[in-house]
Every structure is written in C-alpha cells, then in structure tokens.
C-alpha cells in the first residue's frame, strides 16, 4: 500500500505548481488553469486522508469542491470572454483599471 505521505507530497507539489503558475503567468486562461491545479491538489489530499482514516467526509468534500469548481469555471470563463471582447487581450497586467 502506498503510504499517506506520498499522496500528501504529491498534493503539495500540485498545489505549489498551482501557486507558482498563478503568480508567474500573465495569461488569464493559464491562471485559471493554475487555480484548477490548486483545487485538485487539495482534492488529492482530501481523498488520501479519507482513504487513510476510512472516513467518507473527505470524499464528500471532494464532490463539493468539484461542483463549486465547475460553477466557478463557468462564471470565470464567461468573465474571461467578456474581458477579451472589451480589451482584446488576455494579459492580466493590462487589466488593471480598478487600481487606485
């Protein structure tokens, strides 16, 4: 059986990749994907814990996260399309109208 720590390390790596991508990338789509990566990293640790403790709660949580992530993607992609239509770019550094 694969030890728990392996899952957790993988989960941590996935999350760190997500964070790094979120911070480094300028393309809004890539940032979006980084978010998904972070979510899935967390999902992985949930599932790993659930299997380890033989508790269902973690698995249920993962379903919730997936549902929310789906909803979030729907809204997020809609916003991205709207942004692209008005600004003709997907570079977040150029989408800074809300600054002081």
């Amino acid at each position: 059986m694969v030890p728990l720590s392996y899952y957790l390390v993988l989960s941590g790596i996935l999350f760190a990749c997500g964070v790094a991508g979120f911070l480094i990338k300028r393309n809004i789509i890539t940032i979006f994907m980084s978010i998904e990566l972070m979510l899935n990293g967390v999902n992985l640790s949930f599932v790993a814990f659930a299997a380890h403790w033989h508790a269902l709660a973690g698995q249920v949580f993962v379903f919730f996260v997936m549902v929310v992530a789906a909803a979030e993607s729907a809204v997020g992609l809609a916003i991205i399309i709207a942004v692209y239509r008005t600004r003709e770019t997907l570079n977040v550094d150029h989408v800074n109208l809300l600054k002081l």
Partner: protein, 656 residues
C-alpha cells in the same frame, strides 16, 4: 388647617408673559406686546397682594411643595416655595415696583426696535427674581440668583449693536460670576456639613451650634463665602465695578434691576441666612465693614460724576452699602426696611432721570441740562421728592430707614455710625447737586434752529432713547408720569411703617428680636440726638450743593483746580477699573493668549490632532501603492499572507 395660597402662580405668570412675548412678540403690534407684558406682571402683583392679604390670617412661614428635583441618597432638593414676612415684603416690592416700571417702560421704550424683546426680558427677570425671593431652599434660590444675572446681562446689552453696551453686559456677567463662585462654594459646604439646602432644615441644625466667637469656623467660612456672592450681586467692594457700567442698559432696566430689585438680592440672601451669620461674628463684622466702606467709597465717587445715571448708579452702590452695614450690625430688619424704601425712591430717581433724558432727546450729561424745572414740572416734583427721601430728610421714606440703620450701627460701634453719617452728608450733597444741575439755572442743552434741525451736542453713541427731534424739552407722557407719581407717593409715606418699630415687629418672627439687651440700653434721647445730627448733616449737604451749584456756580471749578490731584482720582473712580485691568484682566488675557491659546490649545490640542491626521495621511499615501490593480501582485500578497498564517499555525501547533 392647610391653606393653599398658590404661590407658584406669582413667578409663573411673568414667565408666561415672557414666553408669549418672546415667541410671538416679533409679529405682534406694540399694543399687543404691552398688553401681554402688563397683564401678566399686573396679575402677578395682584396675586401677591391677595397672598399678602390671606397670609395675615394663616400661620407663617407657609411652605408650598411643587415637585421633586434632586434625589441622591439622603440628600434631596425640591421645587418648593416658602413664604414668611421677609419674603412677603420682597414679594410686594418686586411685583409692585416691577409692575410700575413695566407701565413706565411702555412710554419710554415705545420708539425702540426690539420692543417685544425688551418686555420679554423684563418679564423673564420678574420670573427669576420672584423665584429667588420665594425659594424654600438655597438651590432654588440659586436658580433665581443666576437667572436674574442672565436677565440683567440681556438687558444691559439690550442695545447690543453698541459696543460699550455689549461689553458692559459681559462685564456685569463676569463680575457676578466671581461672586456666584463664592456663593456656590458656600452651598457645597452647607451640603457637606448639614446634608441639606432647605432653609428650615439648615437653620434648625445651625441654631443649637455655639457662636463662633473665639475663632473662625465652618459657619464663618460659609458666611464669608455667602458675602462674596452678595458682593457680586449687590455691587459691593471689591466687586461693585459692574454696576456703574450697567447703566448702558435702558433706563427702566436700571431702575428695576440695578436699583430696586436685583441688586438687593444680596441683602436678601444675607438676611435670609441671618441664622448662620448670627453664629459667626467675624463674618458679620466683615459684612458690616464691607458695607460701610462701600457706602462711603461709592458716595465720594458719586460727587464728581456728570452723567446723571452714573451718579445714581454710585448712589445705589452706596445705599446698598448701608443695607449691608445694617445686616452687619445684626439689624437685619433695618436693612430690609432700607431695601424697601430704597426700592421706592431709587426706582423713582431712575425713572425720573429717564424722564429727563427722554425730555431732552437722549442727553445724559448733567452739564448740558439745567433749568428744566419749568419744562418738566412733574418730573421735577417727583424727582425732588425722591431726592429728599434719599437724603434722609424727614418725613420722607429714606429718613426713617436710614436713621434706623445709623441708630443700630451706633449701638455696635460709633465708627460705623460716623462713616454712615458722613456718607449721609455726601449723599445729600451729590443728590442735591444732581437736582440743581438738572433743574435749576439755565438750560445748557441743544437748541433748535429755524429749519427745525436739532443742533445736537451729543454724539451718535449716546442714548437712542428718543429718535424724534425736539424743539424744547418736553414733559413725558402720562404713562411714564403715572408710575413716577405713585412712587413719589410711596417715597413720601413709605417710611411711616417704620415709626414705632412697626416694621421691625412685623419682621420679628423671621429675625427674632435683635440684640435685645442693647436695645434696652439705648435711651430714647440718644436716638433722637443721632437723628437730629444726621438731619442737620443732610441739610448741610443740601445747602452746600445749593451754594456750589445755584448761587455761586463758578466755585466748583475753583475748588477742583485747587484739589486737582484728588479730583482727578475721584473723577476717574479712584482708578479701580484700571487697577483691576492691570492686576487681573491683562494678566488673565496674557496667560490665556500665550499659554492657554498658543500653548495648550494650539500646540498641544490642535497639533496632536493635526499630527495624527497628517500621520494617517502619510501612511496611507505609502500604503495605497499596494493597490496596484495588478492581479498577480494581489495574488502574491494573498499567497504570502497565507504562508505567514500557515507558518504561524504550525508554530503554534494547531491541531496537534
């Protein structure tokens, strides 16, 4: 038997008048305003008369409870009224003279803008004065005490566009405040040691205490503090300086507030507290000394003044000094007696002076009067009676009360008597000087040329009493002369109640029999002798005034030339105002400006707030750059923040 006199009506009626005129007077006609003012003050007077009539058949003192006010542990104060012989006398004087002056004011103030305001203030004053007089405890008395100060301030500054009037009002208020401070501390001492401010309760606790003859104690302290309060309100040394300046107010105000009623509040308060003072001989001696000195001091200033109202103002200060002298020698009923007669003749003097001023178009300088006798005979007649009364010439009112005081003073110490008699001489001199300068000789005032224009000698800053031009000095309307005649009558016969000590017997239930052993000693011959001496001196003063101002009018100038230094000093009121300015006012302004204003207010208070605001702005100026609009930098902050939080939680060992 528990009769109900409805005392509360007496103060509340003028208050209602003040409210009606104050709120609705601006849009009403002058007739309506006068009607309201007269009806309410007149009804108060009638009710006071009814009370006086009914009071004779019920046991006094009578108390009337209205409402709770303060309840704090065992200490309590009620809105409650108290009627005994003393407050009855004050009640009748205040409402009676007040009503007469209301009538007079209709004529005097008719041309004034702010007519309704004047009557509203006047009624308000009546309310507070009656509250003061009727209170059954010191706190309610204090409401009235402060209230009359307020009314006085408002009325002195009635012509508030005139700078001198506005500052005179402020001066009166501030000087009074110094006195009130003493009074208030006295009240605190009463609360601390007796736990009550109710007259009857305080006096019941004081009565069994020993007389503080060997040394000063609590009662002496209270007495002296009360006297400080009385000095402020009743214009005694060292706080008398506001009263002469208060003459900036309209003349009826001077008559009502600054002669007949408000300034006597101090005398009333001291008399009311006689139980305390009788146990504190040192405080009593201080009262007597202050009174005596003030009487003499103010009288000498009165000799040199040329403004007709200023003479009367100093005369008022001097007469109040007599009253305090009487209180100080324990002759409280004599003091109250003089208070009453003084209200008659000094009220009359002021009203007559107002009539003179009215007659010659606002001139107040006696050097520009003269020979008015034939122009305004009624004013002359009534003012003559008042002059006789104040000079102490029998059988006019002032004679009886003044001699009562002098006789009582003699029994305590001949020094009081001597100064009192000298003052009486000076009083007689300056009052007849006023009379002669005003009514005798030739008219020295303004005349009218062929175009009907008034060749006015007086500047625009003088009284605006009377806007219409004058050909010749003219007699005042009857609405003004009526009160003069009534007061003249009272000044003539008002003193007769003192014959055979009737007045003293009337007040005996309040004051007890004063110094009974001494009165037994004093022989009738002695009293008669003293009386004759003071009358002779009064006549001498009058004669001297006649010589100097009628038969040989060039003499005064020679005398003043001869005694130039003294004359200058007296003319400038002994430089007391300048002295106070140098000693108190200027240092106070200096310290306030340099330390309190520029130091504390600007440097500490303002700067601390400004610096705090400046600091906040500075910090936010820097911090706002964080909000760059750059999504990735936000994300970076979030990540960094979460990292910190997580590190912290790990360090704490959460969930372990």
């Amino acid at each position: 038997m528990n009769p109900n006199l409805s005392l509360w009506l007496i103060p509340v009626l003028p208050l209602a008048g003040a409210a009606i005129n104050g709120f609705f007077g601006r849009k009403s006609s002058r007739t309506a305003v006068s009607t309201v003012a007269l009806v309410f003050s007149g009804t108060a007077f009638l009710w006071a008369l009814t009370v006086a009539w009914r009071a004779s058949s019920i046991p006094l003192p009578y108390q009337e409870y209205l409402a709770h006010w303060v309840r704090s542990g065992s200490f309590s104060v009620d809105f409650a009224f108290y009627l005994d012989q003393l407050s009855l006398v004050m009640l009748l004087v205040v409402t009676g003279v007040g009503f007469l002056i209301h009538i007079y004011s209709i004529g005097y103030m008719w041309e004034e803008p702010g007519y309704y305001r004047f009557f509203s203030y006047l009624n308000l004053f009546m309310f507070f004065m009656l509250t003061l007089v009727l209170a059954n405890n010191y706190l309610v008395m204090f409401i009235g005490w402060e209230g009359v100060g307020l009314a006085s301030y408002l009325l002195i500054g009635f012509w508030f566009t005139k700078d001198s009037a506005a500052s005179a009002g402020k001066k009166a208020f501030i000087v009074n405040r110094i006195g009130d401070f003493g009074f208030l501390i006295g009240l605190f001492l009463l609360i601390q040691h007796f736990g009550t401010l109710n007259f009857t309760q305080v006096f019941d606790q004081v009565k069994p205490l020993a007389v503080e003859s060997s040394g000063a104690g609590l009662l002496t302290a209270i007495g002296i503090l009360f006297m400080v309060g009385a000095c402020g309100k009743s214009a005694q040394i060292p706080l008398y300086v506001w009263l002469p300046d208060a003459m900036e107010g309209p003349t009826p105000v001077s008559a009502l507030i600054h002669a007949a009623t408000m300034v006597t509040a101090g005398v009333y308060m001291v008399s009311r507290s006689h139980v305390i003072f009788e146990k504190a001989p040192i405080a009593l001696a201080i009262v007597a000394i202050i009174g005596t000195l003030t009487a003499l001091f103010a009288a000498t200033i009165g000799v040199t003044q040329t403004d007709i109202k200023k003479v009367l103002a100093y005369s008022t200060v001097s007469q109040l000094g007599y009253m305090f002298m009487a209180c100080g020698v324990g002759a409280f009923s004599a003091g109250i007696f003089h208070l009453m007669t003084h209200a008659f003749f000094k009220g009359l003097l002021f009203l007559a002076a107002g009539s003179v001023i009215h007659a010659i178009g606002g001139e107040q300088d006696m050097r520009k009067m003269g020979g008015l006798r034939s122009y305004i005979p009624w004013t002359f007649l009534t003012m003559g009676i008042a002059t006789l009364a104040i000079s102490g010439i029998p059988p006019f009112a002032g004679f009886w009360s003044k001699d009562e005081i002098l006789y009582k003073a003699y029994q305590t110490s001949w020094i009081y008597w001597l100064i009192g008699v000298i003052t009486a001489f000076i009083t007689s001199f300056y009052m007849f000087r006023l009379l002669f300068m005003t009514f005798f000789g030739d008219y020295r005032g303004a005349h009218v040329d062929e175009h009907g224009q008034l060749h006015s000698v007086h500047g625009p800053d003088l009284h605006r009493d009377d806007a219409h031009g004058h050909g010749e000095p003219h007699e005042s309307p009857w609405v003004m002369l009526g009160p003069l005649v009534v007061l003249a009558l009272l000044s003539t016969i008002g003193g007769l109640v003192g014959i055979g000590n009737h007045f003293e017997h009337f007040l005996a239930p309040v004051f007890g029999s004063e110094y009974p052993q001494k009165i037994a000693e004093g022989s009738g011959v002695n009293e008669l002798l003293l009386m004759v001496i003071s009358v002779i001196l009064a006549l001498a003063g009058a004669t001297l005034a006649y010589v100097l101002y009628v038969s040989k009018p060039e003499l005064p100038e020679k005398i003043t030339d001869r005694m130039h230094g003294l004359y200058e000093a007296v003319l400038n009121k002994y430089y007391v105002d300048e002295f106070y300015a140098a000693l108190f006012v200027k240092p106070l302004i200096g310290v306030s400006t340099s330390v309190l204003w520029k130091g504390v207010d600007r440097k500490i208070i303002d700067d601390s707030i400004n610096d705090a605001a400046e600091g906040a702005r500075h910090v936010s100026d820097n911090v706002r750059h964080m909000q760059s609009g750059n999504l990735r930098s936000y994300a970076g902050w979030i990540a960094a923040g979460s990292a910190v939080v997580i590190a912290y939680m790990v360090w704490l060992g959460v969930g372990r």
